[in-house]
Symmetry: C2
Subunit: 297 residues, 2 copies
């Protein structure tokens, strides 16, 4: 399935202060991704602030995206929720609205153990019949997947991919090899964490789940094209150019940076859901300088 290779672009979900999705702004963002021919779209990911939106607003966002893609570009949709029954309903909604697959993170408040996460995935996969990508994002869920648990879940019917946070260059090959040993043949092993993603792709990762590509899809597609062309030098050169952006992500978080950048570039006027605050002026100036110096638009 093509949605599990190449660049999966994760846009923000522009919304009002009271959590209503701004469908016009979302269409603008999606239009940029479709124009750049990204390999897939990761709607309502962590960058898309899915846990901060109601079921109804999440459904509205999916409907806009299904309409915008017109079935041409695979659409992954975040279906995570604290409660298993809520995650089931969200996955059913995504399936009914025409999403290609669901991104399921083990959202937690009470820390979960492996058996609980396994049963959570089993319940959502079974009840929704939506293909699922294991969304491993310990920075937000505070749950850490070991390769053994990824392996267990990967053998559930309907689970088709894993999105794993890429460790740094020195560790990514081993990490990928451990995951490959744990999952069935043909199972997609892809990576998030933009600043480490190029090395993960060069090591043989199937997909790059990218925050940067949600706003700047062209440069990310160029990097993946270089990897596809087996031109590691060019992929690394393009990635090295983006180092100032990765530094901003590290300093201020990718989510806050892409909100500021979208605003600075007049792409859309949106702020993150409170309590998350827009970047303060000094940080915002750094973002402005960086995107100007990099020629990003």
């Amino acid at each position: 399935m093509t949605f599990m290779t190449g660049v999966s672009a994760f846009p923000i979900t522009p919304a009002s202060a009271d959590g209503k999705v701004d469908t016009a702004a979302l269409r603008t963002l999606l239009g940029r991704l479709l124009a750049a021919k990204v390999d897939s779209i990761g709607l309502l990911g962590s960058t898309g602030s899915y846990p901060y939106l109601t079921r109804e607003e999440r459904r509205r966002a999916i409907e806009v995206a299904v309409d915008a893609t017109g079935g041409t570009t695979p659409l992954l949709v975040g279906v995570g929720a604290l409660r298993t029954d809520d995650a089931v309903r969200l996955a059913q909604d995504a399936k009914a609205a025409g999403a290609t697959a669901g991104l399921l993170a083990p959202v937690s408040y009470t820390p979960l153990n492996d058996d609980e996460v396994f049963e959570h995935f089993a319940a959502v996969a079974r009840a929704s019949q939506l293909p699922l990508c294991i969304y491993d994002n310990p920075g937000t869920t505070h749950f850490t997947f070991g390769p053994a648990l990824v392996g267990r879940i990967s053998h559930l019917a309907g689970v088709v991919a894993v999105k794993s946070p890429a460790p740094d260059a020195g560790a990514v090959a081993t990490h990928l090899a451990e995951l490959r040993c744990a999952v069935p043949a043909g199972f997609s092993v892809g990576f998030s964490v933009d600043l480490n993603a190029v090395e993960a792709l060069l090591a043989g990762g199937d997909a790059w789940y990218s925050v940067a590509a949600g706003l700047f899809p062209q440069i990310c597609m160029q990097i993946v094209q270089a990897v596809r062309d087996k031109d590691a030098t060019e992929a690394r050169r393009l990635n090295a150019r983006l180092q100032p952006l990765w530094e901003l992500f590290r300093e201020f978080s990718s989510l806050r940076v892409v909100y500021a950048a979208a605003d600075l570039l007049d792409i859309c006027r949106a702020v993150p859901p409170r309590p998350i605050l827009p970047l303060a002026e000094p940080a915002r100036k750094k973002v402005a300088t960086t995107i100007r110096n990099l020629g990003l638009s």
Copy 2:
């Protein structure tokens, strides 16, 4: 205000598999706490699974508790939510229903910074006019409060207490002193983490926010009485007796243990909200043995 001293007992919130609060079972649990004359009740705390319950169910639980206490026992209510506007509404609901104070934790998905948490507290305190206790629970929120931030928030109008996780005996006096320096005179500094709470009380902490007391209030009241009587030896002797319970909490988590114990003792039949699973049989047997050996009922 008396609700910020002594034992604050945190019961589970019995609910059906689809998240409807079992008001009869909740009344049973509350009746045990009132009979033991706990100093306050911490309804809808982390042990009360508040983030897993809808606004409507949380309101129902508060109404039952207000009715059960009849105003005799201070009632603290968890009002935390991912979104600031949701936390405001929950605090307004709690105030309208007659809660004494709100427990506000910085529930997070996207990791929050200090300014964001400060503004979150300021917004909820201002808009609800409900007295607030800073609910510092890094094990669930993954946000770490430094003394400086506790100090900043403690000076907001309407913020009256902090519930801090007690470090072990070697560190608690320093931790308490740091908090005391940061907060205004008369501000209540209390502690959670049952296994470390007695030393925190002996060091001068104002309150013990207790999971164990939510199910076994009498023994916890005896411990606090010994502290009030300045009988450290007796307080430590009683606490040492409970060591096997604290070990269970450490091994299986306090929440899962109290659910199992409530069921084993025929106090109420409830299971945690999925994805959290009831303890498996070997662990359940350990709980049964321990509560029998300790004579808990």
